[in-house]
């Protein structure tokens, strides 16, 4: 008993935060918050980002979607996706169902790797496994390949299951902590803008809701004039609050994406998207 008690105590202390965590409870609270805040906005509409909260901008966006600015990236992405590696294999060999219609399965916690795997991360894991150089994570070819893969999955609902692995729960909690922690010289957290002040004006823009944030990436942003990944947006958001950004597809941002996507669990994928 003398030897067992300290071990039990240590185990409980180490994992108690995770064991008491309730991701589904968090998600329900998150959804409920926005339902109460914007009672006229349907749950599915949040996948449209700020356009769910801004009627005039929504009308403009619908017109843009008639000739989507991400179409060229999707075409380029399809071409890259179907171009074999030097060893003769291709992306289809790395993904379930040949990489078609699987966007909603990402991110997930890989028990063997012991880490969160996002779609872009998986693309580069595939490349490295086949002797190819990894692509840069924020824009360019990786955004195009991701855009193509996302386009084959439109309408499929995210169905994340954190399972029983305490490491998955730890990754979720890590992302949750990041989301709610103030940072940068301006001392803002993700939640300050996209929960507390969702729908409010920030200079000439309106702040989008955190609910539905992860569904439409990668995205063509008018500001960028090109495609960019979710981690490119994380990078920009951090800089906007004057916090030095962390590496794209590093552990912190992958855990953040894990948390953020879980908050939108049940929503349909609708990437790639076009945003201001």
């Amino acid at each position: 008993m003398k030897k067992v008690f300290p071990l039990v105590f240590a185990f409980t202390a180490l994992f108690s935060g995770q064991l008491l965590a309730d991701p589904e409870g968090d998600r329900e609270a998150f959804v409920r918050y926005f339902e109460q805040r914007f009672p006229d906005v349907a749950f599915e509409e949040y996948a449209n980002g700020v356009y769910a909260l801004d009627k005039p901008a929504y009308e403009q966006w619908l017109q843009i979607e008639e000739f989507p600015p991400y179409e060229l990236a999707v075409e380029e992405g399809e071409q890259l996706f179907n171009t074999p590696f030097a060893n003769g294999k291709g992306y289809a060999d790395c993904f379930a169902n040949g990489g078609i219609g699987i966007r909603q399965n990402y991110p997930y916690f890989d028990g063997d790797r012991g880490e969160v795997v996002t779609l872009e991360y998986a693309i580069n894991l595939c490349r490295e496994a086949n002797g190819e150089e990894p692509l840069k994570y924020k824009k360019g070819p990786i955004a195009s390949i991701s855009a193509y893969m996302a386009s084959t999955s439109r309408g499929k609902p995210f169905a994340m299951d954190l399972g029983d692995d305490p490491r998955a729960l730890a990754a979720y909690n890590d992302g949750k902590q990041y989301y709610y922690s103030k940072r940068g010289q301006l001392n803002f957290s993700c939640a300050d803008c996209h929960v507390k002040n969702a729908g409010m004006q920030i200079r000439a823009d309106r702040l989008s809701a955190g609910l539905g944030h992860a569904t439409h990436f990668p995205v063509y942003r008018s500001k960028w004039g090109e495609m960019g990944t979710l981690h490119r947006r994380f990078d920009g958001c951090n800089k906007q609050v004057r916090a030095e950004p962390l590496p794209a597809q590093g552990e912190e941002y992958r855990n953040l994406e894990y948390f953020l996507t879980y908050m939108s669990n049940g929503m349909q994928t609708n990437g790639p998207g076009a945003r201001k």
């Binding site: 998150f30 922690s181 010289q185 507390k196 004057r242 030095e244 962390l246």
Partner: protein, 139 residues
């Protein structure tokens, strides 16, 4: 301080016709003695400080800058290790370094002091937020 009041009391007691003066006169005179004694004490302290400064080796502004820069760099490194560094800090350090290289150590010191302050605030922010974030969670 007790010696001054005692001195003052003795001086007042020695004044001629002490017993015949009223209390307010006594108080005024003792306060005057105490004030004069305090002035002398301050002058003594000042002289001692001056002597100590003259005896100590002179520290150049360049040396001061070097110490401050090292400290600011180390604190920025700490903030980065905590994933909490600000985008505004590294440019300040760079500008401080450039000013020092150009020989303008006063400007360098001003910039490096600001950089150190920002880095310290970032470290403090990381420490606070390690627990404070929980209060913001939607329930």
């Amino acid at each position: 301080m007790k010696r001054f009041f005692l001195a003052a009391a003795l001086v007042v007691a020695a004044l001629p016709g002490c017993g015949q003066r009223d209390e307010s006169d006594v108080m005024r005179e003792s306060e005057k003695v105490v004030a004069e004694a305090k002035q002398g004490y301050s002058a003594e302290q000042e002289a001692a400080k001056q002597a100590a400064t003259e005896a100590a080796p002179a520290v150049s502004l360049a040396d001061e800058f070097a110490v401050a820069y090292t400290q600011a760099e180390a604190t920025l490194r700490q903030a980065r290790e905590m994933n909490y560094s600000w985008t505004t800090t590294a440019p300040l350090l760079k500008a401080a370094s450039e000013a020092a290289e150009a020989g303008d150590y006063e400007k360098g010191m001003s910039l490096v002091t600001e950089a150190l302050l920002q880095a310290e605030l970032a470290v403090g922010q990381a420490t606070d937020q390690a627990t404070a974030w929980k209060q913001a969670v939607v329930k």
